[in-house]
Symmetry: C2
Subunit: 425 residues, 2 copies
């Protein structure tokens, strides 16, 4: 059979002005990939009723599937329903299910629906609803000129849920099984895309053409993808997956089914399973490690206390770092992070501790300790480890990488990994 | 005169598969904005010769300016020059300047040019060169069907240089001064897009059509935009801007010139200017407030210590909350956050403190204190304030909003605002 012609229409003034960068179409493309489907054409226009209606008309003449993203909100510049009705020579009418959804949504939040909200229940006649379990705007689907049209919200999380729970399943019904190829996705930490590509090319010059390699940066993680187009390539996929696991060891955190877990999720899961607690003493990451951990629901079982000790004085006062050590070695030193970890362990009465001290920049570097220098200590009462890294990049990147490496080092200790990690930007 | 019709054509398989997210079109849009120009339509297609040629043909019929991005590289799937020649019924020929550029580029790198490299010197007949001072691919421009066509490289740095040094200047020549319209952007906190739209409609039913209202969600902030298309609307813009300031008061944090400052940036800036320090005692936000503050370069002057006191025991041990208070009122109570703030102030010897305790969910709610309940305390030794909020939404949203409201309340205290804030989702 011929490949389905799938097109995207994205709407939003903010997409045209460059105020936001579109990541939704990448999400849609990634979700279609396991079905062997690709998007053939993508149009982005501002919130203009006539332009939208014209694009919808012309795309629906060519395409089998049109996914419209954006323009479902409550404001006057949210025009998707209206434009679709115009394109189809149809009209808007209040959709009972959409109204019910909005009413419930309002009730849960103690909000009385106003005209702007109620506008979101006005859909083209004949549209069917696509549920939105987290936001006010329902999605909807229409069929016009032989084209299936799906209207989806611009809010990435809401789009993700609609794709996963409903739209992809509907599109799947149109794809015969022979087209489905298999995709395996792995979560990798500590190696950048270019470096990983190079490592694989060097280690496996005989890598087979049937097993396609793909990468997707999802900072600070990387997604590594293996895919095959034919069922008979399955044994090859299996074989080369094992080779990859040998090469990358504990840099592969997990195979990915749906969402990528964060590094903090891996750590909280391990701590909870082992009934252990973790504490943090942070200087240059300033609470980011604690924040990443407590973002996770249920983290309170594993995390009771964190110390943000930005100044020397507070390192002494809060986690008992000796003023002598600070004077002798400086705040960014192995001795200081070891004392910070020790002090945090005893102050918080925790099983494990992470301590970090470094120079996030842009100022504060010296010849001996340049911006990007960081000492990490991690471990428990029996085994405290420490390591120095120099992580070049902007402040934000530095903090994110330090926080994630620190969590990764604790993760490796929690799984008793005998492997020494290697980290490449 | 009428607004120039500017369209973009982006090419690249990796843009269609979602392996990379397009940020180039945002860059182009941002560069056009100061000329009062916007992009009316943006098309993205895979590296397919016929599709590209068809799009070029049809866009050049409608548009005054077409910027093509991508497809200038040395590989077989770089098809822009070929597609453009096909669209214009022209042919490719070796361009002497392009060849010279390539030869120099190769010499500087000690690379002998191969067939793939030399392909980059094959341009449509009559094309003029756009210099590339950092990469191998030159850009080029053609004129066809009344449309100026600029072909630019996909590598962001190379695109940036071509835009800044050459393309924007050429486009500017086509724009008479009178077309420049004015945009004013304001940063708003505490009011969602739908609510703000409603407030403005209700307060100002006579809002003039010449002053366009726009919104852009940038959670947890909102960007409010006023724009005019004609110079003579300037007094109207001025007048209605003042009206908006009256209506929204200190919910408007700043007018935006380039980047939106974060709430933490506002707070750090105020603290630094006043020579004051801030400390945090966080339960339900788990370090997020400290992390937001220490994300800011130079924050160490204003922030020395933060306490993440997730458990009751740690609230007592780290910031001296009395066990009696915890037993009598529970961890999520006015009394506890006031004691947390007081304890943090004295432990960190800081001028200001923020304390938060709440139920981030999804578990832990009761009938009396449902998920989303949070008590905040903020202030200094002379004036400690407290407030209860109930913020519905997922854990992540809850933490982000609590952290930002807490910072906003400190910001208001630092600017001695007499206004009482109102917060709407």
């Amino acid at each position: 059979m011929t490949q389905l012609n799938i097109q995207l229409l994205l709407t939003g003034n903010e997409l045209m002005t460059g105020d936001i960068v579109d990541s939704n179409s990448a999400m849609i493309a990634q979700q279609l990939l396991p079905l062997g489907l690709t998007i053939s054409r993508k149009i982005t226009v501002a919130d203009d009723l006539n332009m939208l209606a014209n694009e919808i008309k012309s795309i629906s003449e060519q395409a089998d599937i049109l996914i419209i993203n954006g323009g479902l909100g409550p404001t006057v510049d949210d025009l998707t329903a209206q434009a679709l009705a115009l394109a189809m020579n149809s009209h808007l009418q209040q959709h009972p299910q959409a109204l019910e959804h909005l009413t419930q949504w309002g009730q849960q939040r103690g909000i009385t629906l106003d005209q702007a909200n109620l506008k979101q229940a006005m859909l083209p006649a004949g549209a069917s609803i696509i549920d939105n379990s987290i936001g006010s705007a329902v999605g909807f689907a229409c069929h016009y000129q032989g084209c299936d049209i799906y209207c989806t919200p611009g809010v990435p999380k809401e789009l993700a849920i609609m794709l996963e729970q409903q739209i992809i399943a509907k599109i799947k019904q149109q794809v015969p099984h022979s087209v489905h190829y298999q995709v395996k996705r792995y979560q990798v930490f500590g190696i950048g895309e270019a470096k990983l590509q190079q490592m694989i090319t060097q280690a496996f010059p005989q890598w087979p053409a049937e097993v396609l390699l793909g990468f997707r940066a999802a900072s600070p993680m990387l997604e590594l993808k293996l895919s095959i187009k034919e069922q008979q390539a399955q044994p090859l996929l299996q074989h080369w997956q094992e080779k990859l696991f040998e090469l990358l060891g504990d840099h592969i955190l997990t195979t990915i089914d749906n969402d990528m877990p964060t590094m903090a999720q891996h750590v909280i899961k391990l701590l909870t399973a082992q009934g252990k607690t973790l504490t943090t003493a942070e200087s240059c990451t300033g609470g980011m490690i604690a924040s990443l951990l407590t973002n996770i629901a249920g983290s309170s079982k594993a995390f009771e206390a964190g110390f943000v000790t930005y100044s020397n004085e507070m390192k002494t006062k809060m986690v008992n770092v000796s003023p002598k050590t600070l004077t002798a070695h400086g705040a960014v030193s192995e001795q200081v992070v070891l004392e910070m970890a020790q002090g945090a362990l005893s102050q918080a009465d925790a099983d494990y501790a992470i301590a970090v001290s470094g120079i996030a920049g842009p100022d504060g570097g010296t010849a001996e300790k340049p911006v990007g220098s960081v000492w990490l200590a991690w471990g428990n009462q029996h085994q405290l480890n420490s390591h120095y890294f120099c992580i070049k990049g902007k402040r934000e990147y530095f903090q994110l990488m330090v926080a994630n490496r620190a969590l990764d080092l604790i993760r490796r200790q929690l799984i008793n990994s005998p492997q020494t990690p290697f980290y490449f930007d």
